[in-house]
Subunit: 427 residues, 2 copies
């Protein structure tokens, strides 16, 4: 099936800024609250939000097998469960409707009033109800940095790391969309040199620069997904800030892994960019250093060249870019992750989220966490407002952005932006 | 509010066997498919299943503020979200309707036809949609046994264990009700003495004897639940068999914890027994060995005397009881677990499930897993059919049961029974 929605020559009758993440070749999916307080599924072209519920009610998706209320929902789960063929048909149709050469909707002022919104008229919601959130640990540079700092620089990678796309289960209930502020978590930490833990606010709150993919219904209990089929079950990607409290993590994590150090918040960008939209930006993954077992062997380009950056914006000051990385650095790619996750028969459902793990690149400037960027706080970062950061301060806003660019086409994710407030107190 | 449903002197006009887990003092909640293929919420007295949807439609809950469709749902999540006051009112009313001295329904043959089912006419479903499944590690004996086997017998407990109710996130999508068979998982393991992993069926499939509690909506993002309020948010308990693949676990678990070794299946008993029904069986928890931080300090009896047993039934043979344990052995109790889980502001929602971790008692016969019972397979268990078991064989059914008994009243959980089939193969 040709991805006509990806046609690089197409322009839209909706205005799109030159550097927009959302040209008519993107067509991401999200959920928003409209000015009339109605929840709907929508997409975005330039700075215009498009109500797909209204578009469907007005008959613009005629001929595509969709239930009447598929877009009049507060999550994308059911639409995603409809499968790739349907996603493609809908995305292609949206491209046609908003094509500069198509004036059906363009000339229908009444319809446009119901369907189109300025961004300041809507409020983005969490795009999916996440059944399970899995977080991988797939950047070799990140795993090496962490292993060097906390274990042994000469044997930084554990023996299983080059064989297994290591992962752990994380918490769905604390995944929030961009824009929702969070509180500094409290918890147990072990003071240096002491054997008795103390209770109090975390002193080492950190971001983790990640991306996450959202799946569709993939398999029944017991049934593995072969790696050559895995891509069929990936709907799209978002930016993910997997907030971490390093001091809580250090004391709690043995032997069952991080828990309270992670589950206080994970923020995602609200527009899911489809795997189809990212098609032109495929690149090779890093070459395997050790042979990989058959169920993890794949053919073709399964990584994507997605430029990422992280900024910290102190209260009332300008932001400072603290990291520039790229999704393509991941040692284990998404099809390997999904094949591994299901090789034991673990069921994957529509709306499940799988994080990449912190994406660190080969240079210091491309590290994906303050832990690595400041090397445990030993090398503070200078901010443009003259202050310094070892970790994240109260009232700092952490902003992550990501986009692909090739041959004049730019497809992006917008941003995930989250302000850290002080410890929660009951009013 | 008096728990009139717990009145030990009450009998029912429905027949209840002398040793039934489900006298009129129990009144658990579950979800079942009826002979007419309708999903409904129900309860059980003796061996009679009671359709609460039908009971409500026929007006038996008049005066209790319930939405019309609260029981006509395929999960208990909304009912649980209604909160403790409503659960109590409903449970008390059910006790009245089925009281031996009340003949309103008893004498209404037409109503009884719609409301009552024999157990062989229904099919029990998963009682809740589990948003997040957390598994604790709260039995000191279990943690000590595992630490002795895999680390150091002289320092079996890690330094954090006596300070933290250690836990990790597990997988919701593979939680299944009693009766659903599972497949032996495949995965990576590291052969003894080798540095290269191999792929194949797990050779060390194990059960873990656990209980789990189901929560109601408890807190918003950022807001901790104080320990003295925690009990208000616990709806009830089920038996949990947290299936484990020990060989996969050993190779994969460092540093982020168990993943594929656990997420292929977790089985639960289908009737949720309310915390209210367990009220008469409260007991003290074990005395703390080390001082606990203030947020983990509680008053009163927060453990429950629940007798547990595990049986293995080989194909076509009689079962053998392999373990007898008790929920009261848990070092960390449920209010400590919930206070800890939320102290960093992690949100807990209606339908979340929190497992106790393997419940091992002080004697060898009370260990809660084959790993411990056979000490890594060094001491196989003799079965009544003459065979031996180190771990679980294909076609074995593992059955867990639990009940409380005091002053002539017995409140039980029924059972969770799961057959292990060979590795999945595509037909």
């Amino acid at each position: 099936m040709p991805l006509s929605a990806n046609n690089p020559d197409r322009t839209s009758w909706l205005h799109v800024d030159k550097n927009s993440d959302f040209p008519i070749q993107n067509i991401p999916f999200g959920v928003f609250l409209t000015r009339d307080d109605i929840i709907t599924i929508g997409t975005r072209i330039g700075d215009t939000a498009i109500d797909l519920g209204a578009l469907h009610q007005l008959g613009y998706f005629k001929g595509i097998p969709l239930t009447d209320d598929i877009f009049l929902q507060d999550t994308l789960n059911d639409f995603i469960a409809d499968g790739r063929k349907t996603w493609r048909a809908v995305r292609n149709r949206i491209a046609e409707i908003f094509d500069a050469e198509n004036d059906t909707l363009k000339n229908n002022t009444k319809h446009k009033k119901t369907i189109l919104f300025r961004l300041d008229e809507i409020e983005m919601q969490l795009p999916v109800q996440i059944g399970d959130y899995t977080d991988f640990y797939s950047s070799k540079e990140h795993a090496t940095n962490v292993g060097s700092m906390f274990r042994d620089p000469d044997n930084a990678l554990l023996p299983n790391w080059l064989h297994i796309p290591v992962a752990y289960h994380s918490r769905s209930s604390s995944v929030i969309p961009s824009g929702i502020p969070i509180h500094r978590p409290q918890g147990q930490t072990l003071p240096h040199g002491s054997s008795e833990p103390v209770f109090g606010p975390s002193k080492l709150v950190d971001f983790e620069l990640e991306m996450a993919f959202i799946t569709t219904d993939a398999n029944d209990l017991g049934e593995p997904i072969p790696i050559h089929e895995a891509e069929e079950y990936i709907f799209g990607l978002v930016l993910l800030n997997d907030w971490s409290a390093r001091d809580i993590q250090k004391w709690e994590y043995a032997p069952l892994g991080p828990f309270l150090a992670k589950n206080f918040a994970s923020s995602i960008s609200p527009w899911i960019v489809t795997l189809d939209a990212l098609e032109p930006f495929r690149v090779e993954s890093p070459k395997p250093i050790k042979p990989q077992l058959d169920y993890l062997k794949y053919k073709g380009k399964k990584s994507y060249d997605i430029q990422l950056e992280v900024a910290i914006q102190p209260k009332g000051a300008k932001e400072t870019i603290v990291s520039k990385s790229n999704f393509k650095y991941m040692y284990w790619n998404m099809v390997q992750q999904l094949a591994h996750h299901t090789v034991n028969g673990c069921p994957v459902n529509s709306g499940d989220m799988m994080g990449s793990g912190t994406i660190s690149g080969p240079t210091e400037a491309s590290y994906g966490s303050m832990l690595e960027l400041t090397w445990k706080g030993e090398k503070p970062i200078k901010m443009t407002d003259g202050t310094e950061r070892k970790f994240i301060n109260d009232y700092d806003t952490v902003i992550m952005r990501g986009h692909c660019e090739k041959d004049g086409t730019r497809i992006g994710f917008g941003e995930v932006s989250t302000k850290l407030l002080p410890v929660f107190s009951k009013k």
